[in-house]
Amino acid sequence: MSTSHAPPGSPEHDMSPISADGKAVDATSAPAAPALETLRPTAARRTRIPRWLRRTTGPLLLVAVWQLLSSTGVLSTDVLASPGRIARVAADLIDDGSLASAMGTSLRRVALGLLLGILIGGGLALLSGLFKVGEDLVDAPVQMLRTVPFVGLIPLFIIWFGIGETPKVAVITLGVTFPLYLNVYAAIRGVDAGLVEAGESLGLTRRGLVRHVVLPAALPGALTGLRYALGVAWLALVFAEQINADAGIGFLMVQARDFLRTDVIVVCLIVYAFLGLLADFLVRSLERLLLRWRPTFTGR
């Protein structure tokens, strides 16, 4: 790069000689400077509003609009109770302890179903993911059963297990098993062959390979499966509790439906949503803890 733009004595020279096709023919002519833009550092670009505030604004606005519609009478109580009324009903339900006991029952069902589902789904996935024999024996039947909608099995479960806790837990277990199986199995089979080979070359035994290479590599996929399974578990809970329940949030909802109490129904829905959020938060924390090594895109 030379700093002198034009040869001395010919000040006009670098702009003038342009050939017929519009190209500059003079090699000494400097190219026109492009328009420049300032790249501001990310810190400056970020807004001053803290993240949690930005995240809570949306839901709060929604509630405000809802309250407005209710108090102006656009939204009648028979269709949907107002947020204020729902808050009062929620407080009542909490006070007389019925909500807490219902939540306890429901949580116990989900926890048990989830635990069994994780054991069965995860166990089967390990079998068919790690061993050829396991794959031949397990994968085909599981893939077949997977296509049966688990909710459709509720009548069968009632015949088999009666109307107690067992069929409810069974439905949840079934719902959880398949997404977990599919994700863990796919994750194990998707492990980078290069890393496995490297592990082999380092003298790892079969057990060492599974422990230090295959399982850690499959962990992100397994956690995705767990998150998905949690969603299904909640769905399964709602279905299971609508049938022959005598306790739990679903039972509370069925009762409320019989008395046309939209406020109680909404409280129950909110509780479901809240518990779902809580579960999701737990898995996210687990991911953050276990997958610290992973280079991920965290968003802007």
Partner: protein, 237 residues
């Protein structure tokens, strides 16, 4: 074993009926530095994987030391382990951290021993992989284009490092490379592979450290390039 670090006779390896290695013969003396050149796809990595014991789908005689280590073209560090646990991974018993630290210090990476692999630069990651190989105190070190993905400057440093480590450790080395200059710079013997066998061999009797400007160096390089089918008159790699 008759005092050899590697002894291969009649080695054949086929993929789907096509013999990539065909009745191959190779001997490496203990402590010898051998470089292996050859066209892309001629079977260099295949040979290396056989020697590493990673590919047993073979026929023929292959004798290799029990203690051997590999560095691949990509570092292949376990991303879920920090650098030092990566270095001692697979060692028997409960290896101490100090052991890893020593090996890392040898490759100039002591300060990064608790880093996650993803935070290492390409050259650093490759040096960590080298430390991981060295900590096994191998009698045979297998290097499959370990500098292939590095930029030219880093490559020069890494080459020098491997040369030094080899002289200090005294292990036999088989270095697979595309770079004729690198081969002549480091090796006692340069092999050229073609048609599934070692088709040509060139002894490098230059004093170390070797200078690229040495006329004998240039002559050797030209001879090898000619063997590889590159005409040196019209330009080199």
């Amino acid at each position: 074993m008759t005092g050899q670090a590697v002894r291969v006779e009649g080695l054949t390896r086929s993929f789907d009926g096509r013999a990539v290695l065909h009745d191959l013969r190779l001997d490496i003396r203990p402590g010898e530095f051998v470089a292996l050149l050859g066209r892309s796809g001629c079977g260099k990595s295949t040979l290396l994987r056989v020697l590493a014991g990673l590919d047993r789908d073979i026929s023929g005689t292959v004798l290799v030391p029990r203690r051997k280590a590999v560095v691949f073209q990509a570092p292949r560090l376990m991303p879920w382990k920090r650098v030092w646990p990566n270095v001692v991974l697979g060692l028997p018993g409960r290896p101490e951290r100090a052991l890893a630290e020593r090996a890392l210090a040898e490759v100039g990476l002591a300060h990064r021993s608790t880093a996650w692999p993803r935070t290492l630069s390409g050259g650093e990651a490759q040096r960590a992989a080298l430390a991981r190989a060295l900590v096994r105190e191998p009698d045979l070190l297998l290097l499959d284009e370990p500098f292939g993905a590095l930029d030219a400057l880093t490559r020069v440093t890494a080459q020098r490092l491997v040369g030094e480590l080899w002289q200090r450790r005294g292990c036999a080395v088989l270095l697979v490379t595309h770079d004729v200059e690198e081969a002549v710079l480091l090796a006692d013997r340069v092999l050229v592979m073609d048609d599934g066998v070692i088709a040509h061999e060139e002894r490098v009797d230059l004093d170390r450290p070797r200078a690229l400007t040495d006329p004998r160096f240039a002559a050797l390089r030209a001879a090898l390039l000619a063997r590889l089918g590159v005409d040196t008159a019209t330009g080199t790699t």
